[in-house]
């Protein structure tokens, strides 16, 4: 038996090993650094503006200090809620179709279309919503913003739904079919519950993705300095409000933009963590 302990390995080989290891470790570090830089900067510059008013007051006009983004928070929640009502059923439905019935030419076309849609720049989707909703209604509206974001959700939700449904073992489907349970019933009552955790993760991913979208809202929901709870009126949304504050020339508004960004990031982070906890518990129960 040759002795393979370290002192037998040549100096140059050990050097190469350390060099390679050092390079990939540095690479991994470089990848994580921007995230922490962003988080750090946003917290550092945004935390000063955090107070109760920020969550409960309407924006103040230029020159007046104080005020908050309460209307934008409410608007964001409404737009995201309505977008989910559009995007989740269509996305999950498409995913079910692709996984259970889509092993054919039509399925391939749908799959390809969903992938292309996923790659369409968000501003183009905003323009589409502008063309099909805003022009019809005659003005910017909450609905138009939701349609734009809802469309963005569909391909993300449908592809993840398809992927997790395909992970459900085939024998489980056979067991249900073998009992004389119809195919649609099998999908609904046997396959879907087995994939529930993964589907929820997919929905969450899509939600987090659209929660921060600004471009598709710029000419759909537009923004609003006041409260709006009507579907057919322009509505404030947090990312648009941040954009407006950040591009303004006023220092007070700049700091509000940082605080808005902090709130937005925290919201997305909290939803992600909360859903993760819920779904991981679901998986343990079923396993």
């Amino acid at each position: 038996m040759p002795d393979l302990t370290t002192h037998d390995i040549s100096w140059s080989r050990r050097c190469k090993n350390y060099l390679a290891l050092g390079t990939i470790t540095a690479g991994a570090l470089v990848v994580t650094v921007p995230l922490f830089l962003i988080l750090g900067t946003v917290i550092y510059r945004g935390i000063g503006g955090l107070n109760l008013d920020f969550f409960t007051q309407l924006p103040k006009p230029v020159g007046e200090t104080g005020g908050g983004v309460a209307n934008a928070l409410a608007g964001s929640l409404m737009i995201l809620g309505l977008a989910s009502l559009i995007g989740v059923p269509l996305g999950v439905g498409t995913g079910i179709f692709l996984a259970e019935y889509g092993r054919n030419r039509y399925g391939n076309v749908v799959r390809f279309t969903a992938d292309v849609l996923n790659g369409v720049p968000s501003i183009v989707i905003g323009m589409t919503a502008y063309a099909i909703v805003v022009l019809k209604q005659g003005h910017f509206s909450l609905t138009a913003g939701s349609v734009a974001l809802g469309i963005m959700m569909i391909p993300i939700v449908s592809r993840t739904t398809e992927e997790v449904l395909l992970l459900v073992p085939h024998p489980i489907r056979e067991a249900a079919l073998g009992l004389g349970i119809a195919q649609w019933r099998t999908t609904l009552s046997v396959v879907l519950p087995s994939a529930k955790g993964g589907i929820i993760t997919g929905i969450l991913l899509a939600f987090a993705r659209i929660a921060g979208e600004t471009a598709p809202l710029l000419f759909t929901s537009l923004g609003n300095d006041y409260w709006n709870f009507r579907l057919d009126q322009p509505t404030a949304a947090l990312p648009v409000q941040i954009f407006k504050y950040a591009t303004s020339p006023y220092d007070d508004w700049h700091s509000k933009a940082w605080t808005g960004a902090l709130v937005l990031i925290t919201m997305i982070l909290l939803t992600t963590v909360a859903f993760r906890l819920v779904t991981s518990r679901g998986v343990r129960e079923s396993g």
Partner: protein
């Protein structure tokens, strides 16, 4: 055959894509007896039983031609729904496949519940009866709704799958190597079970294990390369088979 047949198969052919798996199978299976299907791997045993309850067609690019009659039901008749066939022909698979998200109770009740049956008093009785028939009742009666079907041991899972198939009260029970993944003790339990089941059901069991065929089945069919070589009383098959190929297989000369 000295008994009236329950399942009658005429000129059955089956394909996977362009590969033919069964060639002109003709046979009669008697009611309330166990018929074993034996033969080397890839001889079409599983394909054959999967044609009886129309599971073959659930795989992509498959095709079947021929006629199967189960009592008064023309399995491949015009307008006959595969769903309807499968309610009358239960199936137990090689690997136990309980529904992982359902409790033991729901696993057994699934065939009825998911077909719209909702009389709970009646359901309780059926679940108990099926679990007793599958010799599993005593082991699970205290955790029916608490434990998931997937939390049972392998042998218990397979008996759970048998109970699940029995709950819908089929006429025929197809078993595709039901004990091949189990230890000898669990296998013995399943074999005892099959022995009891044939009082009420026509059982067709695919097996690799010739001793098992000899133990549980009155009739045995020998398949070879997609063809039925012969079907006869098990005793006769194992003592003086009419076909040379059967003798060669049984005595271990090939396969």
């Amino acid at each position: 055959m000295d008994e009236q047949s329950h399942i009658s198969v005429e000129n059955l052919n089956a394909w996977y894509g362009s590969t033919q798996a069964l060639y002109n199978i003709n046979l009669e299976i008697p009611p309330r007896h166990t018929t074993a299907i034996i033969g080397p791997s890839g001889c079409g045993k599983s394909t054959f039983v999967r044609c009886i309850n129309r599971m073959h067609e659930t795989l992509p690019n498959t095709r079947v031609a021929g006629k199967i009659q189960i009592a008064d039901l023309d399995v491949y008749g015009k307008g006959v729904s595969p769903v309807w066939v499968r309610r009358r022909v239960g199936m137990v698979f090689q690997k136990a496949n309980p529904f992982p998200t359902m409790s033991i109770y729901d696993n057994v009740a699934a065939g009825l519940k998911l077909n719209g049956f909702s009389n709970h008093g009646e359901l309780d009785k059926i679940v108990e009866r099926s679990l007793r028939q599958a010799a599993l009742w005593d082991e699970v009666k205290d955790s029916l709704k608490k434990k998931s079907g997937a939390s049972l041991s392998g042998g218990q899972q397979q008996r759970l799958c048998i109970a699940r198939a029995l709950a819908v009260e089929p006429d025929v029970l197809l078993m595709d190597e039901p004990a091949s993944a189990l230890d000898p003790i669990s296998t013995a339990k399943i074999e005892d079970l099959i022995f009891d089941l044939k009082q009420q059901y026509t059982v067709v069991i695919v097996t690799h294990n010739m001793q098992q065929a000899a133990r549980v089945a009155e009739y045995t069919a020998f398949f070879l390369m997609g063809n039925l070589v012969e079907l006869d009383k098990t005793e006769k098959m194992f003592t003086k088979p009419s076909d040379k190929r059967t003798e060669d297989y049984i005595t271990g000369r090939f396969g």
